[in-house]
Amino acid sequence: MKNLHYLIGLTLAGSMTFTSCGGGDEKVDGPEDGMDTTTKVENNVNTPVSETFFQVPSPGEMLTFIKMVGDPKKKDISFLNPPDNQKNYNDSKSKALNFGIYSCDLSYCSIFEIGSEALKYFKAVKIMGDQIGVSTAIKPEILKRLESNLGKPDSLAVITDDVYFSSFEALEDSKQGPTLALVVAGGWLESLFIATQLAKWEPNSPVIERLADQKYTLENLIEFLKKHETDANVAAIKTDFEGLLAEYNKLTEQTTASDAKKGKDSKSTVIGGGTQLVMSKEIYTSIVAKVRSLRNSYTLTK
């Protein structure tokens, strides 16, 4: 019996890793970069295994911020990907990318309290979700929850977040890594696109700073895509995003004060240091153009 427990432990260890509920994936550190870590653990349980997972904030986080610092009553949907376009996506790459894009559009409608449009986008997400294999995550009863919470933006945002996270987990559970990578890429790019549509150029504005800070997320996202770049579709998107990163690399960096100190209530620590990314109007314009170009090439719109 003792052996049995040992073997179960060994087998569990073989499948061991940080499982994702965010937007990350693993990369083995050190000389064995890219090796299959499962085999590694099975061969020697006592060997410490170090992996790095690259996480991507959800599109909802960006949109919530934009609403907070911008005009919360703005209800412009002209720049979203029209739900009817879903019938134009026939290959696996565009289906996965646009599932991410529609999920982000759904979040936008929920967060900005455009309930009637949220229902339309939910239906588009549902159709696309069924096609990429996450139908179990998007249950019909969610539509009823959405309908009964149309006047409650907080509840709508929670429901649409649930759709995104459940879909993410369903793809992860079914080991559809490349599809997951495309979904995350589509969702992030759409959140950036929406932010650029709502933002107005103004030096040092919170929105422009947040757009500049997307460089860090983009770096994480590219690392995440690298894990699945043996898939031709993911490799193509990675190349696209590296082009966008080249624009971001033109940002200048300013060092900030490096002292870390306890906050006033002594419960919270303030971490000093780091760098601030500074966006010029010229770079902003080129990033906005690049984002628009990529996004419209994925949605097959002009």
Binding site: T19, Q55, Y216, G274
Partner: protein, 160 residues
Amino acid sequence: MRTILLTLLVACFSCSGYSQSGVCGNFHKKYCVLEKTAEKWSYNAQSKSGLFAQGMTNKLRCVIYKGMDYRISVCCETVLGDKVNYKIFDGRTQELLFDNSAAENTQVFEFQSVSTRQLVIEVAVPQGATEKDKHKATDAACVGLLIENKVTDRQGFSKY
């Protein structure tokens, strides 16, 4: 016969597409959540859970924004007790920013950053952490890393 049975059992676990999320997927959502307080923390999608063997270390690189408060909660199955260590490094400079072993093994760390940055959170289960328990696999246990955030309270007048 017994050997064959054991081999088959291991093979079943190994070859059935044994889901990682099936093991610990939402562990952090279920077990790392703190009791509700007046403060409204939001779930951050960069949270993660995983199954850890003794001596295992994983790193997670995430993005945190200035102007936000963050709360990181690390929790684990009881067999690990409070033996899970975590350290937080600056993602670019690798400077050590926090080490829970130097803070009474606290499971919760609240902070804000003066600049947006990448952080690397390193979670480690030391050798000998799991205790022998005849009811479960003793070489592994779930560890959850919950990240929450909220807008930093503004001090003084603000445009926004």
